[in-house]
Symmetry: D2
Subunit: 346 residues, 4 copies
C-alpha cells in the first residue's frame, strides 16, 4: 500500500470530532489533508484554535466554496446534524466519497429520523444508498460505499457490546437495558451552560431518560443483528471526565451459552475490539485516545442476567477514529493505518 | 429541646466518615464532642489532619483507653469493619448507645455476614438486638435502639429508590437491577493505588460485578419491604468525583400505577427524601454536603420498565449525616438538628 | 441581636455569586429574603435553576420593577459589571443600603475604572461615597456605609496576604509579585467555550498576563496599606477545580522581621483570617464553602524573599460570604452570623 | 537509519515513567523491547497492570537477574532514586549504555546530592562521567555518553524557560523566581494518602516551599547557563490534573532586549521547543502525551519584569519522552523517532 495517498477534505473542523480527525490524519501515513472548512473561522490557522496541532497541521480554515472539496478523494463532515445532507449530493456527483460523522444518514427510516432530529431530510435517496458503517458488522459494504454514515458514540459502544448475544439468539429481546455513561466531550464543543467545568465537574447525572436520539439508531442496529425488532431501555448519563464512554448492558439469558467463548469467537481477528479475560472490568482510560473497544462479559452469581461492560473513547472509536477506519476500508488501506496509537494512561 | 446536650465520642476518626461526623457535630446545636480516638494518631490535633476543622474542633486524637468513652451518651464507630463488634459489648453494658457506621451489625444472617466480610463475628447477640437504621423505614425502632447499624452508602441510595415500588407490590421481584455510581471517597481514605488521583480521575469503570458486600445488605432491605426474597443484580461503578452516589434502578412493572403519586405519597413528610417533579434528572451535586436523597421516577416511552434515579452524598445521607439523623432520633431531638446545611453548588 | 431581621433583596441571582448568596442567606439567622430579580428568568422558581435550594428557598425570580427592592433594608447586586451603577442611586435615595458584588464602585479613580472596564461610569458621585469593604482593613467605615464595594476574589486573597508586610514597611514596594490561581467558577456562569469542562478540566494555563482588571484594584489597596504607590506584577491562572483561589505572593525583605509573629499579630482577633503554623501549606479545599482566608508565610532557605500562601473560596470570602460579612457589620449583627459553616473536606 | 534496531531493557517498569516509556517504545520504529524488570511483579504480564498496552506489549515483568539486561544496547532505569547507582557500574562495564530517569546522576556535587537525597552515593565516579541530558543544551555530549542523567520534570520546564535569558545575560541573577505547578502524576504511582483522588481533586496547594530536591538541580543548570551561581526561589504546587507542568518564571531585566526574538532565535531548529507567538498563554493540554515544551514570554505593562510561561507533559518531555529523545541521540537515530505523537486535546 506504500505510496498511495488519499486526498482528504474536512467540512466543519472547529468541533471536537474535527480536531480529533486532524490529530489522527496528521499522523496517517497515507492521507493528505487538502482543506478544512469553517465559514465562521475562515482565514484562521487551525493550529491557532487547537494548539496541540502546532507543528503538525499548517492549514487554515477556508470558506467552503473556495476549499476545492470536489477535488478530494474523500470528504469528512464533522458538522452539526443537518449539514451533510445539504452538501453530499453535489460531492457524490463529483465523484467524491463522503463520511458523515453526524447523524444525517444513520437512520434508514426517514420519517423516524425527521421525528427525532426535528427537521425535514434534504436527500432521502442518499439515505437509502448510505452504508451504516460499523466495520465489525458490514466491512464489505463499507469498502464499496460512496456515502458512509459513521455511527454515533453511544451506538458504537452499545452495539459492539450486545451484538454477540443477539447474533447468537441467546437473550430475551424484549428486555434489553443499556445504562451508558459518557464524558463531557460527547456533548460537543458548544458554549452551553450545563457543560461548563463548574457545572459538570464533580457531578454525575442522567439525562434524556424520556428519550434520546441515539435510541432509534441503537435499536435499528440491534434489530438487524437479531433479525427482529427489540425492546431497549437506554439511559445515558454525564460523567465528569473529558473522553470515554462506558456502557453497562443487561440482558436475560434464554439459553445456556459459554459467554466468554462466544465473545472471543465473535471478535477474533478484529483489530479494534478487545475481549478482555473473564472477570475483567475495562476502564475508559485504557482506550483514551485509541481506537479500541474493550469488552468484558459477566454473569453475576451465576444468575440469568448477563452484564456486558463495553468501553470506547467517544471521540475515537465513537467518532473520528472509526471514520478513519472506514476511510481505510474504502480505499483499500490497512484497516489500522494511522490508528496504532497506544491509549494514554495515566 | 433547647438546653439538652448529648455527650458524644467517636472511635476512629481519621477516615472520611470520621471527618464528616466532625464537620456535622461541630455545627450541631445539641451535641458536645467529648473524645475522638485513634491509636495511630493519638496526641495529634484533629485540625492538624483536617485543616477545615481549624477554629471549629479543638480536640486531639486520644488513646481509646484514655478517652472516657464509657461516660458518653453515644459513641459512633467510624472504623473499618470488624472493630465495633469487638468494643460494643462493653460500652452497651456501661449504658452507652452505639452507632456503627461500618457493617458489623447490618446483616442479620451472621453466617452470611461472615461469608462476605471474611471474619468471624465477635458478638452475634448484638446483631440480633441491633436496629438497621434507615429512618424512613423504621424510625420508631431507632428511637429506642441501643445498637444502631447505620446503613451503607449504596444501600441507602438503592433502598430509598426501590422501596415505594416494592411496598406497593407493583414490580417483578425477580428482575431488579441497580446500576450504581459512586464518587471516590466511597472507597475511604486508604493509601491504595487504584484510587490515586492519577488513576481514578478522568476515568470510569465498573468493579465488583461478580459480587459486592453491599449486595446482601441491599437484598435484605428489599426483601423486608417486599415481604419475600428478591432477585437483584447490583453493579457498582467508580466515577471521577469526590462525593456522591447516583443509583439508576430498573424494574419491570407488573401492574399499572401512578408512579409519581406513589413516590410523592411514600415520602410525604420526610425531611430528607425529596421526590423531584416528573421528568427530572437529579444531580449528585444537588446534595453535596447535605443529608438529602433526591429521587426521580421515569417510565421511558411509556414502556413497562420503571427507571428510578436516586442521588445522595455518600458521606452524608450515606454515612455521617444519616448517623447524626439517627442520633437525633435516639435522643428525642428534632430529626434535622444539625442537618440543615444547603448543598454546595457549584 | 436575637429578633432583628434584615429584609434582603438580590438583583441578578442567576450567576454563581447569586446562588452562593442564596445558600448563605437561607441559613442566616437574621435575614429575610424578600426578592430576587432576573429579567430573563422572571417567573421561574429559584430552586428549579439551583436544585440544591429545594426545600430552602421558595422564591421565584421576579421582574426588577415588581420586586419591591425599595422596601428592602439592603440590596445585593450579583450582576455583571455596569449594572449596579445604573440602579444604585434610586435605591440609596429610597434609604436602601447597597452591596455591589461587581466592580462598579471598587476603583476610586473613575478614569482608570473606565479604562479597564471599557464603559462610562454612570454615577461617579457614589464612587466617591462608596466604601471598599475589606472588613479586616476598614471595619468601622463599613458599619456606616450606604454603598459597599465588595472586593473582588483575587484582590481579597492577594491583599490579605500582602497587608502585614506592607503595613510593617518591611518589603521592597517596587518588586511585588502575585502569582494567583483560580478555580473555574471564578469565570462566572457564562456560556463560553474556554470554560467548558472538556476544555478546562485536566488543564492549566495562565491568562491575562498583559493586563487584568483586578490589577488596579489590588494596586489601589496595596498603595493604601503602604502609604505610597507600589509596583506589582499580577499573573492569574486557571486551575481545573470548581472553587478556590490560591495566591502565591513574593516580596523582597528590606529589613529583618519575625514574619510569623507579624502575621499572627496583624490578624489576631479576626474571625475569618487564619494564620497557620509556621511551615504550613494551606489547601484551597480547607476553605471550600467557608468564609475563611488561610495564610502561611515562608522565607525559603532563609533568603530575602518572603513567600506568602493565601487561600480563599472565591465564591465565599471572595464574593458572597464577604458580602454577608459586610451586611452583618452594616446592621450591627455578629460579624460571623450565618457564616459559621465548616469547609467541606474531602 | 531504516533497519537499525536498538535492544532496550527497562528496570522498574511499574511506575508512571515506566508505563510511559512502554507506550512510547511500543510505537518506536527502531527499538526492540527485550526485558522489563520488577522484583515484585515478576511473572505478571505488563498489559495486565497497564491495560492500555494490551495488543501492543506482550512482555511479562521479569526478575532482574534473569532479564539479560547485559545484552541490551541501552537500559532505562525507571526506578526510585538510589537504584540506578547500585546497578549502573556492572551494566556499563558490560558495554550497556544507561539512561537513568531518576536523580542518581543529576547533581555533580556528590555531597549536595547526598544532603538532598539523604543517602550515600554508591558510585560517585559515574556521576563525574554522566551527562546531564537536556538535548537543547548539550546535544553533542549526549551522543557519546555512556551514562545519561535524564533531567527531572520541573527542571526541564524551568531550565528551558529561563535559558535564553541567562545565556543572553540580560536579567538579574540574584532574583529569579520559579512558580511551578504540576499534575498529580508527578508524585508517582505510590500508595500515599495525600495524592488520592478524594484528596487531590478539586484542590490546589503549594508544597515543599522550604526546600525541594529539584532546587539544586535547577540551580546547577541555571548556573551553567549563566556562567555563575544564581539565586532562585522555587515554589512547586500540586494542581488537580493528571499530567502537565506549568512553570511561571519571573526575572528582572537588566538591559533592553527583544524578548520574542531572543527566544525564537535560541530555539530555532529545535524540534521539541515551541516558542509561541507574542501574547500567547500556553496550556498544559497542548502538550498532553507529546514531547514538546511550549513557551511564551511576556513583559507585563512594559515593566522590567519578564514573565515566562513554560509547559511540558511531566511524563513525556519531563521524563520518558526526553529519555527516548536522548536514546535517539545516543544511537544516531532521528531525534524525533517515535516521538511524533500529537498531543491529545481535548
Amino acid at each position: 500500500m506504500t505510496g498511495k495517498t488519499i486526498k482528504v477534505g474536512i467540512v466543519g473542523g472547529t468541533g471536537y470530532t474535527g480536531v480529533e480527525l486532524l490529530r489522527l490524519l496528521a499522523q496517517h501515513p497515507h492521507s493528505e489533508l487538502r482543506a478544512i472548512t469553517s465559514r465562521k473561522e475562515a482565514g484562521m490557522a487551525v493550529a491557532e484554535m487547537f494548539p496541540n496541532l502546532r507543528g503538525h497541521v499548517d492549514l487554515k480554515f477556508s470558506e467552503p466554496a473556495a476549499a476545492g472539496l470536489d477535488k478530494c478523494d474523500v470528504v469528512f463532515f464533522a458538522t452539526p446534524n443537518g449539514v451533510a445532507m445539504q452538501e453530499a449530493r453535489a460531492l457524490v456527483d463529483a465523484g467524491v466519497r463522503i463520511v458523515d460523522l453526524a447523524a444525517d444518514f444513520r437512520i434508514r427510516d426517514v420519517a423516524m429520523w425527521e421525528h427525532w432530529y426535528k427537521m425535514k431530510h434534504a436527500c432521502p435517496e442518499l439515505v437509502a444508498e448510505a452504508v451504516y458503517a460499523l466495520p465489525e458488522v458490514n466491512r464489505e459494504q463499507i469498502r464499496k460505499a460512496r456515502v458512509i454514515a459513521n455511527p454515533g458514540c453511544y451506538p458504537t459502544a452499545v452495539q459492539l457490546g450486545f451484538l454477540p448475544l443477539l447474533e447468537a439468539g441467546c437473550v430475551d429481546l424484549d428486555h434489553l437495558i443499556a445504562d451508558a455513561k459518557s464524558g463531557v466531550s460527547g456533548a460537543g464543543r458548544k458554549a452551553e451552560t450545563h457543560i461548563l467545568h463548574a457545572e459538570a465537574s464533580d457531578n454525575f447525572k442522567a439525562y434524556g431518560v424520556p428519550g434520546h436520539r441515539h435510541h432509534p439508531e441503537i435499536a435499528q442496529g440491534l434489530a438487524r443483528a437479531a433479525g427482529r425488532d427489540v425492546s431497549l431501555v437506554f439511559v445515558p448519563h454525564l460523567t465528569p471526565m473529558i473522553r470515554g464512554i462506558h456502557a453497562t448492558l443487561y440482558a436475560q439469558l434464554t439459553k445456556q451459552v459459554d459467554l466468554q467463548a462466544l465473545y472471543e469467537k465473535r471478535y477474533a481477528g478484529e483489530a479494534f475490539v478487545d475481549v478482555m479475560p473473564a472477570g475483567s472490568h475495562p476502564e475508559t482510560r485504557s482506550v483514551r485516545g485509541a481506537n479500541h473497544c474493550r469488552i468484558a462479559v459477566h454473569r453475576p452469581q451465576g444468575g440469568n442476567t448477563v452484564v456486558v461492560l463495553s468501553v470506547i473513547d467517544n471521540l475515537v472509536k465513537g467518532a473520528a477514529g472509526q471514520a478513519v477506519q472506514n476511510m481505510n476500508l474504502m480505499f483499500g488501506l490497512d484497516e489500522d493505518a494511522g490508528l496504532k496509537q497506544v491509549a494514554l494512561l495515566p
